[in-house]
Amino acid sequence: MKTGAKILIEGLQREGVETIFGYPGGVVLPIYDELYDSPLQHILVRHEQAAAHAADGYARASGRVGVCLATSGPGACNLVTGIATAYMDSIPVVALTGQVPTSLLGNDAFQESDITGITMPVTKHNYLVKKTEDLGHIVREAFYIAGTGRQGPVLVDLPKDVTTREIEYEFPENEPVVLRGYQPTYRGHARQVDKAVEMIAEAERPLIYAGGGVISSNASSDLVSLAETLMIPITTTLMGLGAIPCTHPLNLGMLGMHGTRYANYAVTESDLLIAIGVRFDDRVTGNVQTFAPNARIIHIDIDPAEIGKNKKVDVPIVGDVGAVLSDLLAKVRKKQNDNWMERIRVWKERHPMKFRDDDVLRPQFIIRELSNLLLPDDVIVSEVGQNQMWTAQYYCFRKPRTWITSGGLGTMGYGFPAAMGVHFACPDRTVFDIAGDGSFQMNIQELGTVAQYNIPVKVAILNNRFLGMVRQWQELFYDRRYSFTELPPVDFVRIAQAYGVDGIKVESCEEVRPALQAAIDCDGPFVLDFRIEREENVFPMVPAGAAINEMIGGDTE
């Protein structure tokens, strides 16, 4: 006989789970009791939101399903932002929540909340387990659904009596999960692939627009091979950074609202846009009517619902990005696009990414320094706002899964806990969270977690004492009326020290490199408080609703 809690833990182990991030409470006591002497590593966070972000960071860095655990009611509700973050970026996470006993369900019992109802719009699927007998197969299904097809979070709600009841149960051996309502398409349709091959052969100004789908499909090297065979430049979304090394001659960097001028010009001028693992998000397209106005479009994505959702396409190919790319690679013929490459070269030369490189402490300088110091495998996580955009623009990503950021939801407070998760996915690599002072304060309590477990995450706060990105919009579009965006100074080093974490305050350019080096050399967590130029802006920028070739800033200085 086994309790439900035992079946749960056994199920997690059978799925290959090693680390889970969680926070206990009344109805999960049976699960915690089972964890007490299980080989699973449990990391006690300081807020359930951090558990969800940590599981998400773990998943993004490793490509495996991340797991978080919370109690019912407030615990479960605190996971929601983290689950929604994972959902928007298609990240495989299994969230386990306690629930009041089945006999009390629907009674407004103490710490009852309808978490399956609450998370229905932000999960790929969710379960309320009503019988201990169902627990084993639900755990298997949850991992299967989270980690296959278009990945995403799955929540499993576990009433207390379901985890305490004892039953006879053995997990099935070598029996695949089969769900009649869920059969993702992995192979692209051969005729569609042929059409794409033809279109590529006809194109004179082709461009690849690659996104997070390339990363989750582990298809970066196929992407680069295709681009090299056909001499097609690649621009990536925020989520796609790292799919092609920043130093690659075909790389155009990021496109969209804060993209490079040359990427946005290339999109506008191209006659064939090959969209791979992307979803034509409004932050990418600007005014979608004027996006890629001269191009035919090939769209490769695993989710049929993304095809034609925001933009009409000429050749849709539904399938796993990696599988479709290898089919394409087998069929395309070598090609040169000399005139087009020359135009792009001129754009790159005339409109390089640049910032004022003086002796004022500017965020772009700090990121460039860090980029020079870290190794290609080291991982950069960001918060949300200017810090995120500067990192996307100025950090040189050389490998996939080394850039971890909340793209779709844009969740402030994501970075620090996600960085903790990244550490457990790749313990040998240096992990930096590039933060704003606003975002860092949204999950600053995790200093307690990194201190307790000596998680060597480094936080680089680009401290401008503003909610910088919002302030930038107020400066540009609201007449500099800084309504509730100024933050009082905080001594982050002293806060870190109070938790037992080391830190340094940095106020000048000369101090940057030694400070970064000190953080890297420290074998525990570290906080760097960079007092940056307060009103630095992120440029270039496409104003909301404009066409993406109508950028402001970033061209002069």
Binding site: T116, G117, M120, P121, K124, H125, L128, K130, I145, L179, R180, G181, Y182, Q183, D303, P304, A305, G308, K309
Partner: protein
């Protein structure tokens, strides 16, 4: 923009209806009519949804529905030859005497059944397509419709064709 009839085969599981309707409201699609019940396959239910939208919207609705794990198959049967029915129960004022006779005559013409007779009202049951029920209701309004209850629309394809369960 025209009405589309979607036939949606789903797992007969708790919460599946709210997953389906939640998706409509979340993505800003309107449901005109909805009917749900068990179907020929054990463990499955069929939901018939009538919704209005342009082709792109309907395509998006169907794709999003298909993504739900508990949805087994979605078909737009609007373009096919089909039979559609809905059922209405109408409680109408019908004092004994000439009004009652008139109401009963109208019922007869519409092949509505009289399923209850009270001292001042009678209850009619009528099945048919939407237009027929609308027409009957309109005629009965002059006598005073006390209560009207309508089901959602259900539909099947004509002939041997069926809406299969393979996704």
């Amino acid at each position: 923009m025209k009405p589309h009839t979607l036939s949606v085969l789903v797992e007969n599981k708790a919460g599946v209806l709210s997953r389906v309707t939640g998706l409509f409201s979340r993505r800003g699609f309107n449901i005109e009519s909805l009917a749900v019940g068990p179907c020929e396959e054990p463990g499955m239910s069929r939901i018939t949804i009538v919704c209005i939208g342009d082709d792109a919207q309907i395509e998006q609705v169907m794709k999003q529905l298909n993504k739900l794990i508990d949805v087994i198959k979605v078909s737009d049967i609007s373009e096919n030859e089909r039979v559609e029915r809905e059922l209405a129960l109408i409680k109408v004022n019908a004092e004994p005497g000439s009004t009652r006779a008139e109401v009963m005559q109208i019922a007869n013409i519409f092949r509505a059944q009289i399923i209850d007779v009270g001292t001042k009202t009678i209850i009619l049951s009528v099945a048919g397509d939407t237009e027929k029920i609308d027409a009957l209701e309109k005629l009965l309004r002059q006598y005073g419709v006390r209560e009207l209850v309508r089901t959602g629309r259900i539909a099947v394809l004509r002939g041997a064709k069926i809406v299969k369960s393979a996704k």
